[in-house]
């Protein structure tokens, strides 16, 4: 007794699987689940031409099998519907489709460069963490896994950046930034086509345009770590109700900040919940969320020389200790300075202010 199904003793039975079915139904029709999507977050990457998502609505079993032709199922579908023009408001379902499309692109494309893939994953992680933060009771297991992934990516980026020579003009990651197949219609960020473009991406020529990844989340170590920390602290909801101590700078291996590092970052004693909110605030513009109601923006920047913010963005000073923020509402994005040792040494390069406004409009989803 207890012999496995593959064991002998079946005699002349030809079927390799002797398992016979008799369903005992516990309920009615099978319930299909709605696809879980990231709720409430904003699209981070626009205008990327991607194949259709992996997740496919359930089809009747027979149809599902028969319909799978050699040309490939959903992944081969025309993806034109993922291309969005300027100024189109985006519904949540579209957002989900876009995110699914992006992850599908990640999975299927071999040409996506590693830094871009990494950035994509990082964005997904932070989006999820942000979503969890909005829940009354975030799932501890998932939060820890995602936070660990973020830390891992952060560490990798830090190591990469610490290996690069500290060079004002060269802030680009080691990989040659040729990104074929990434279309950026709808936004102004074009991709550098070669190394010559790299050299021109100096902080003294802000008219140059950077790769898409520059436009994505630019967060300092501290903010990201404090985001993770604050989420984990929030999850500590019970007996250890002790007054929140000031966050220690996250990570023992944090590279020492040089005194010249005037990277825009929150001070340690202000790194409580606001820290996390500020990180995720860079996803959304301040006037669109309730997180930032309490923030006095002036407080954050009291140590920053704001004279630059009033200047014309198209011609910033030659050796800016910090790059100007693109727009006043976007003050919560953090930008590495050209000679900082923070995570991303890639300076952000922007063009028209109007383009930026447009992007922010879409991000806000007004």
């Amino acid at each position: 007794m207890g012999a496995g199904p593959a064991a002998g003793g079946r005699g002349a039975r030809s079927s390799p699987s002797p398992w016979a079915g008799r369903g005992v139904a516990c309920g009615g029709e099978e319930l299909r689940w709605p696809g879980p999507g990231g709720g409430g977050s904003r699209l981070l990457l626009e205008g990327v031409r991607v194949p259709a998502p992996l997740r496919e609505p359930a089809r009747p079993a027979g149809e599902g099998r028969a319909a799978c032709e050699g040309a490939g199922g959903p992944l081969a579908r025309s993806s034109s519907r993922f291309m969005l023009g300027r100024g189109l408001k985006r519904k949540l379902s579209d957002y989900e489709e876009n995110m699914a499309g992006l992850s599908s692109a990640f999975d299927s494309s071999r040409n996506l460069p590693y830094p871009l893939k990494r950035q994509l994953v990082l964005n997904m992680c932070l989006t999820k963490l942000q979503t969890y933060k909005m829940l009354v009771e975030p799932n501890l297991h998932r939060s820890v896994l995602i936070a660990n992934t973020v830390r891992q990516i952060q560490e990798e980026m830090r190591q990469e950046s610490s290996q690069q020579p500290i060079n004002v003009c060269n802030g680009i990651a080691p990989n040659p930034p040729s990104y074929p197949g990434i279309d950026s219609s709808g936004i102004s960020l074009h991709l550098p086509s070669g190394s010559s473009q790299q050299e021109s991406n100096c902080c003294n020529s802000w008219s140059a345009e950077g790769p898409i990844e520059n436009s994505l989340l630019m967060v300092s170590d501290d903010d990201m770590s404090s985001a993770i920390s604050s989420i984990l602290k929030d999850l500590d909801f019970m007996e250890d109700i002790s007054p929140p101590t000031s966050l220690v700078p996250a990570g023992d291996d944090e590279p020492p900040k040089s005194p010249e590092n005037t990277c825009l970052k929150l001070e340690d004693d202000r790194q409580d919940l606001k820290g996390a909110e500020c990180v995720f605030g860079s996803f959304e513009i301040s006037n669109s969320t309730s997180y930032l109601k309490d923030l006095a923006i002036d407080d954050i920047f009291e140590d920053i020389d704001t004279s630059m913010y009033d200047s014309d963005f198209c011609s910033p000073p030659l050796m800016a200790p910090r790059p100007p923020s693109a727009a006043t509402e976007e003050t919560l994005k953090t930008f590495p300075s050209c000679n900082s040792s923070s995570t991303n040494n890639i300076p952000i390069c922007r063009t028209d202010l109007s383009e930026l406004d447009h992007i922010m409009e879409i991000l806000v989803g007004s």
Partner: protein, 429 residues
């Protein structure tokens, strides 16, 4: 757009468990209900009906609760059911939701007393002046009634969500595990439990690992294991100290650098850990594989089985839609020679440890006509798809088989597919 079936979400089965003889099969669902099936006795008149499971008892185990202190709703979903070995005519089982464990007694009543002296048949008191003689109540047969009564409620011991319960081989104690702590209970004492594992850091910001499953050794009442989200298993001996912070054994496989990805840690998180019936091995399930470990070898598993390796190239999509966090369970057969676990598209997989053969089967309505033979399924990865194969892109990721159970001594399996329960048995001539 989601297609909502005719059955409410509360019908989704969340746990399946045979009792120690295999006579009973319990299921718990998202609505807090427990449904117990009983196997029909062999009958010479109807030999083909031997082994059919019919509903034996249904009861509401847990209700939704509201934690006023934290303003949180506590789900009534049954996370786990574990049977106690039978010691008398009644059956006992433990059922748990996120916060509270309950001990239920399921007993039969097929006789009732009749002929009371002071009460009439309706139960009303008789007029004492009308009573002229003395009589003793007699037990008379009645229709079989199965009643479930809660005998113990073990509450308020877990800050985090309970993911496992396990009955000790001493039959006097059991443990309950949440994300960060494991508590030891005595069945008789509901207002106290011993904390035997606590991995909560002093500073929650330093948290990098959680407990995902725990189980007692089947024979040694001092030994238990717990698995973590980092893909490690710790074996602890309760004789060593009261708080088992230091493990006796630590099982971890070194990472394969060729398979490294951004999602490596997430997919290494162990979703289930089970001792073999012999007690010599443990089996763990992570997102893509099932591994068998020898208790005497900590540095790597002795066997690794790929459940659905074709998903390895889809991890980003599966991360985006949260499927990567699905917690699949795994089970041994009675002789520890075959292991089984679920997958997507209502597929489930069996691996024969001796012959190294494996099979993919599907739990669906088409296959479930009485005595229909299950046809093995195959997922095609490459370009050319054969006639009966299904391509990876056509898999339905909303149809996942997370919970399965195997009869302790026979080849009968129970497979939970969302809100349907399938029972298959190995037909012997």
């Amino acid at each position: 757009n989601p297609i909502i079936g005719s059955s409410p979400a509360s019908d989704i089965i969340s746990t399946v468990e045979f009792n120690h003889t295999g006579e009973l099969l319990a299921t718990g669902d998202k609505g807090g209900r427990v449904v117990i099936f009983q196997r029909e006795q062999e009958s010479k008149n109807q030999p083909h009906r031997r082994g059919e499971y019919n509903v034996y008892s249904t009861f509401q185990s847990h209700e939704p609760e509201f934690d006023y202190l934290k303003s949180l709703e506590i789900e009534e979903k049954i996370n786990k059911i574990r049977w106690l070995p039978q010691q008398n005519a009644a059956y006992f089982l433990l059922s748990t939701n996120d916060k509270t464990v309950k001990l239920w007694k399921v007993s039969e009543r097929d006789k009732r007393p009749e002929g009371y002296n002071l009460k009439d048949e309706d139960g009303r008191l008789r007029d004492p002046s009308m009573i002229t003689m003395l009589r003793v109540p007699v037990l008379r047969p009645m229709d079989l009634m199965v009643e479930a009564t809660p005998r113990r409620v073990f509450a308020n011991a877990h800050t985090y969500h309970i993911n496992s319960i396990s009955v000790n081989s001493d039959y006097e104690t059991y443990m309950s595990a949440d994300d960060l702590r494991i508590n030891l209970w005595n069945f008789e004492i509901t207002n106290q439990s011993f904390n035997i594992v606590d991995i909560k850091p002093a500073n929650m910001e330093e948290l990098t690992e959680v407990i995902t499953a725990a189980e007692f050794h089947p024979h040694h009442c001092n030994t238990f294991v717990y698995s973590s989200s980092k893909g490690t298993i710790r074996l602890c001996d309760m004789r060593a100290s009261a708080l088992c912070d230091r493990h006796s054994k630590f099982f971890e496989e070194p990472e394969d650098p060729s398979n490294r990805s951004f999602f490596s840690e997430i997919i290494s998180s162990i979703s289930d850990v089970k001792f073999s019936h012999s007690g010599r091995y443990i089996m763990t399930r992570d997102y893509l594989t099932v591994k068998v470990w020898d208790l005497n070898m900590e540095n790597r598993p002795i066997e690794t089985y790929q459940v659905h390796d074709y998903l390895r190239s889809k991890l980003c999509s599966l991360y985006e839609n949260d499927c990567i966090f699905d917690k699949f369970e795994c089970v041994w057969n009675g002789s520890d020679s075959v292991i089984m676990t679920g997958s997507y598209n209502n597929f489930f997989r069996m691996f024969d440890r001796n012959t190294k053969r494996d099979v993919t089967l599907e739990a669906s309505r088409e296959n479930s006509k009485p005595r229909a033979i299950l046809k093995p399924r195959k997922v095609c990865v490459g370009g050319k798809r054969r006639k009966d194969e299904i391509s990876v892109d056509s898999l339905d990721f909303s149809k996942k088989i997370l919970h399965t159970a195997w009869h302790p001594s026979e080849n009968i399996i129970a497979v939970a597919a969302t809100n349907n329960l399938y029972i298959f048995q190995d037909k012997v001539n």
